[in-house]
């Protein structure tokens, strides 16, 4: 159970917070804090908008997993490529997509990052090297591997960060991809965000192997398990992996142990888990812990933190307004972007 790791990480954090000097700069901590808060507040606003039926369809929020978003802003570069699944709002924001275009996308508006065509599951941004949120569980694992192949082919030093959930780790596509990536030494960083559940199914119920990082070992892929509730730990894990991959040694696999506080999507009451289990993660909430650490260790002042809080609040309110006031795409835009060929002859009867 995740509990073991969590207990370990809590005590680790307590030990750390008594240290006089932190390993990371004030700027880094503030950056982590800011992105985590942005994701949290963005998601809370999205849930509110959903309750008002301004957002429809599926909506899978990232609340609880923000430490991973934080580390993605510091442990990889803007030139690295990234692909993930449908639980992606936080990852997209970490890549640098702005809250306005993301919120507008959730609303299905033409000002959204994919012009209202993707909704919650499918943000994309070429500008941010963000290859999208994929709605087919596991589909992005070979795709990320192929993105890596293109980087290797062109001789760059960029990574293809390929993220997926614990549920996706049981798809055959993972095993095929891992094998080829390892054989061809592709520059791909596989990250499984193990939040304990795939919809209502716990990791323990899907396999004999509960520690997902062990999957890498049958391919001799360097693999490790890290604490996903701590931005420091995630940052360090990704940095280590990135260094390995950039040195040309091929893929790396990180199992990041995290938790989603909400149900799978808005319609899931999450009855398959206990209140105590949820509470044990709320107790080590990455945003609360980071805030406390910054204050306790005098990394930042209350003023610094309040300023970020105020900025984020204004930003998310603005994103909400922007999304609300933007127009829907025209129905005729259905015919845009199905083919690159501009005069493609659609069947129109």
């Amino acid at each position: 159970m995740p509990e073991t790791l969590v207990k370990k990480s809590t005590s680790k954090k307590k030990a750390k917070s008594t240290k006089a000097k932190s390993k990371y700069s004030k700027a880094t901590y503030l950056k982590w804090y800011e992105i985590m808060l942005r994701v949290r507040k963005f998601e809370e606003k999205a849930l509110f908008a959903y309750s008002k039926q301004l957002i429809r369809g599926f909506c899978h929020v990232y609340i609880g997993q923000e430490a991973i978003a934080a580390a993605l802003t510091t442990a990889i570069t803007a030139d690295d490529k990234l692909v993930t699944a449908y639980r992606q709002h936080g990852v997209a924001l970490a890549r640098g997509l702005d809250s306005k275009s993301c919120m507008a996308e959730l609303f299905g508006k033409s000002t959204g990052c994919v012009k209202g065509k993707g909704g919650s599951m499918h943000f994309f941004s070429k500008e941010h090297n963000y290859f999208g949120g994929n709605g087919i569980v596991g589909a992005q694992i070979p795709i990320g591997t192929g993105i890596a192949l293109a980087e290797q082919y062109r001789g760059t030093k960029h990574l293809a960060v390929t993220m997926f959930g614990d549920g996706a780790a049981r798809q055959g596509a993972l095993y095929e991809s891992f094998n080829m990536a390892m054989t061809w030494k592709l520059p791909v960083l596989y990250i499984v965000e193990n939040n304990g559940y795939a919809m209502g199914t716990s990791v323990e119920r899907t396999s004999n192997v509960h520690d997902l990082y062990k999957i890498g070992s049958s391919f001799d892929m360097p693999s490790e398990q890290i604490d996903g509730m701590s931005p420091e730990a995630v940052h360090e894990g990704i940095e280590r992996a990135a260094k390995h991959i950039r040195s040309g040694k091929g893929p790396y696999f990180l199992e990041i142990k995290t938790y989603r506080y909400k149900g799978h999507s808005v319609s899931d009451p999450a009855k398959y888990r206990s209140k105590e289990e949820l509470q044990s993660y709320l107790d080590i909430d990455p945003i609360v812990i980071t805030e406390e650490k910054m204050l306790n260790d005098k990394i930042a002042t209350q003023k610094d933190i309040d300023k970020i809080k105020a900025n984020i609040k204004a930003e998310i309110d603005e994103a909400f307004e922007f999304a609300s006031n933007s127009p829907f795409p025209l129905g005729s835009e259905l015919y845009d972007d199905n083919y690159v060929q501009e005069d493609y002859p659609f069947i129109m009867d």
Binding site: K115, K117, G119, R170, M199, T201, L330, E333, L334, I347
Partner: protein, 328 residues
């Protein structure tokens, strides 16, 4: 005697009755057991039949579909649930290359009595990957039978027939209409595979549809009636084999036909029906068979796109007026 229940309950009854009747029948899929089904079709079934017969799988469509095929070849009668048919695309290898071909490859020695089932079609603003229909895809493949029906009574009878059938069957349901209520007879009954149902008799035009588009079609027929146009409404229920006879008989009466089909137009169910009608009832046609399909595009998320994409009653009425050569 009958009572009003919804589609998900009707399907559940079919599964329960067949599992009580035959020990070899079991249900397998994502979230079917402990979670009681992603759309609650299998609610309570784990409690009744236990984990041996109501099996939760990991997210591994190719694997568990193939496991179903192997079990069927070896004498069991699996019902494999796909959370939606969009995800069954991962399993097409096993459905198309194995379930459909085992009998032929083994020269009749190994049959594959399996039912693959789940919802097909759009269900609101779910965007490109979650909004597709698969009747046309699978009906293209010899060796498979394809049923697609949302009427609770008929869906129940069809599913029971499918489970007893010795051939592999793909059944398409509707995520959006699991709650659809209908009168369902008490007690044991079957609905034959391969027979369409006439939902409303009429004389001026034949409207052919299936799955949730039948609701759109019925609404259009009511509107048309108000304008003095009498539409006959046929619910295909089975896509493959197509009930050729019912279609031709109706067309011979009305001389005009519109097919309302959520599949994409190219090589879709509507295209096959139009072909058959011109081939077998050419002399009876007073107008070309026409059709109302989903748009020839991927479906984006925004409500405006969904509206543009899907057939709706006004599009059907427009098509009917076209084949009747009346102005709208």
């Amino acid at each position: 005697m009958s009572r009003i229940i919804n589609l998900r309950e009707a399907l559940r009854e079919a599964l329960q009755e067949e599992m009580r009747r035959d020990e070899d029948v079991f249900l397998m899929g994502e979230e079917v057991a402990l979670y009681n089904g992603a759309y609650k079709v299998s609610k309570g079934m784990l409690d009744e039949f236990g984990a041996k017969r109501v099996i939760d799988t990991p997210i591994a469509e190719l694997g568990f579909a193939g496991i179903g095929v192997g079990a069927a070849m070896n004498g069991l009668r699996p019902v494999v649930e796909f959370m939606t048919w969009n995800f069954a695309v991962l399993a097409f290898d096993q459905i198309v290359n194995n379930a459909a071909k085992t009998l032929s490859q083994s020269a009749g020695q190994y049959k594959c009595p399996i039912v693959f089932r789940g919802p097909s079609g759009s269900a609101g603003q779910l965007a490109q990957q979650h909004s597709q229909t698969f009747e046309s895809w699978l009906a293209n493949c010899p060796g498979l039978k394809v049923i697609s029906c949302i009427d609770p009574a008929d869906a129940k009878g069809l599913l029971k027939s499918a489970i007893r059938d010795d051939d592999p069957i793909c059944m398409m349901e509707s995520e959006a209409l699991y709650g659809l209520k209908g009168e369902v007879p008490e007690g044991e009954y079957l609905v034959p595979i391969g027979k369409a149902a006439i939902r409303k008799e009429g004389t001026d035009v034949t409207l052919v549809s299936f799955n949730k588009m039948i609701e759109v079609t019925k609404k259009a027929a009511i509107e048309l009636e108000k304008e003095g146009i009498s539409a006959e409404v046929i619910d295909l229920r089975t896509i493959r084999p197509l009930d050729h006879e019912t279609l031709v008989t109706s067309l011979k009466k009305t001389n005009r036909m519109v097919v309302i089909d959520e599949s994409w137009p190219f090589a879709g169910v509507s295209a096959e029906i139009a072909y058959e009608m011109q081939k077998y009832a050419f002399d009876y046609l007073d107008a070309p068979v026409t059709r109302v399909n989903a748009a020839d595009t991927s479906l984006g998320y925004a409500p405006t796109l969904v509206e543009e994409y899907l057939p709706n009653p006004s599009k059907v009425i427009k098509a009917v007026k076209e084949v009747l050569y009346v102005g709208s």
